[in-house]
Symmetry: C2
Subunit: 321 residues, 2 copies
Amino acid sequence: MSMIVNEDIKVVDCTVRDGGLINKWKFSDGMVEAVYSSLLKSGVDYMEIGYRASEKLFDPKEYGVWRFSKEEKIRNVAGRKPDSMKLGVMVDIGRVETEDFLPKEESFVDFVRVATYLKDIAKAVEIANIVGELGYEPFINIMAISTVNEHDLAKGLEQIERDTNVTAVTVVDSYGALYPDDVKYLVELFRRVLKKKRTGFHGHNNQQLGFANTIQALQSGATFCDATVNGIGRGAGNCPMELLLAWLKNPKYNMEPILQVIQDHFVRLGKEEIEWGYIIPYMITGILNEHPRTAIALRDSERKDHYADFYRQLTTPECFK
Amino acid sequence: MSMIVNEDIKVVDCTVRDGGLINKWKFSDGMVEAVYSSLLKSGVDYMEIGYRASEKLFDPKEYGVWRFSKEEKIRNVAGRKPDSMKLGVMVDIGRVETEDFLPKEESFVDFVRVATYLKDIAKAVEIANIVGELGYEPFINIMAISTVNEHDLAKGLEQIERDTNVTAVTVVDSYGALYPDDVKYLVELFRRVLKKKRTGFHGHNNQQLGFANTIQALQSGATFCDATVNGIGRGAGNCPMELLLAWLKNPKYNMEPILQVIQDHFVRLGKEEIEWGYIIPYMITGILNEHPRTAIALRDSERKDHYADFYRQLTTPECFK
């Protein structure tokens, strides 16, 4: 029930960023401030507070402020730039413009994570280099990793290794399809190719493996790990921060402020407003290695609990439907 | 996302037996019949339908029928003795009498699992031998395994190895405190001592590791694994059957009937009647390696969602309370 503390391991929170995928980032200011201050107290290393995106591409009337994560909003939450926790944003390929970023010295933002599919690696490299030149610490997250072939993956990683200065490249199990064995295999592949970069892991909980796969990734050589408070996140959600901090056993982390913000904000969120966690339709898309969009649509319909019917629908060849 | 099929692995369902710990086994006949027939269709190897206990020791007015699992009740559910699935009951030390068992040839019961704490191993051996002599297939489950020292454990296992004919001895993580590493260590210890017996694993989901720990146990040499439909079970619940069958990849198993019974019965159970799953107070007792009774009491009180307060209460030395 213990492990040797590994001081190299860094914890990245993406509570607001990933949780916002459920409600279009329409969290109250009070909730985001409470998450921020609980993370600061708990000793988490990196907080990815939202997506950075151009208002030309998303309608601010439809999306909450953390779809854009403007500088002034981050300043309002943080008050002053924290010493012990780095603040950052995620950007999607094609949904951000260079002008969306200030020079680093004028910003509270420390790091930028570029989320990409493997096919778009060249674009991700370009953006990572642009934000790197602006002074931000760049990362690349490779999404939907359970759907790529390893030959292509190795080539993509070689390109990142050669052409960028990213701190880490993150294995993202977008569909919650990976088993611990798969995570070990992928992280070891990343470690072999990425000699000058670190490896991260971002799990999803479709099969109740978000936390277990994160443990496996860290035991296989990853040193960055993503988590969210109470596991909040689209669909089945993510690796829960409270479990991860308790497992890490590093005295610099403290789980108690995370429990406090769950008590104060997440109980209500989960009961009244939004849904996440182990729910059968997300389990089904996970085992089928599919995007959760069909499960999200099911949960939004009157047939939300028709699990067996949903499984038959997804697994019956079209011609028999 | 695949594994080599291991034909030696046997799946043990304990949906009604473990789930009944939440509601004193007061399930409707329709629910138990639906679970039985879905398990039969899904290819599960063993169904532990309830506890067998003496009515002298438990008041039948207070407890449902699966606290006793009388022969006629089992016959009512099964209709006829199934060919492809073994039926069994669990007994607790000191809560059962020899007269509670018919000779095997007059019974639908195939197997009996003796649940014991390590300190009571000598009594468990005695009961396992009595039911074995009556013709039943005996098992021993060692509960609260996260609290024992290994020196005592090895001696207990040696006694079982030497003095019984049990099919398997099961590692029971009653408190949901084990991490995959611990499971590997314990299963390997069991395998070293138990040369003529098989090893089983029964997980709890306090830290969202019920399924992951079951995978780990099977990959470390266990060949019996416990699960429950939708993970139902006291507190945080157990390894979910639907996840386990999907992972096993053995074509003899079919997950679809499990999804059907979840759709037909468990959605309502979870919404209206009883509670189980990843809930913070059970996570807290799990990481503290404690019995969930304090968490159960909290969930039954008005302070049910005061998670941080509960954590402080359990971790503050008495003198500071």
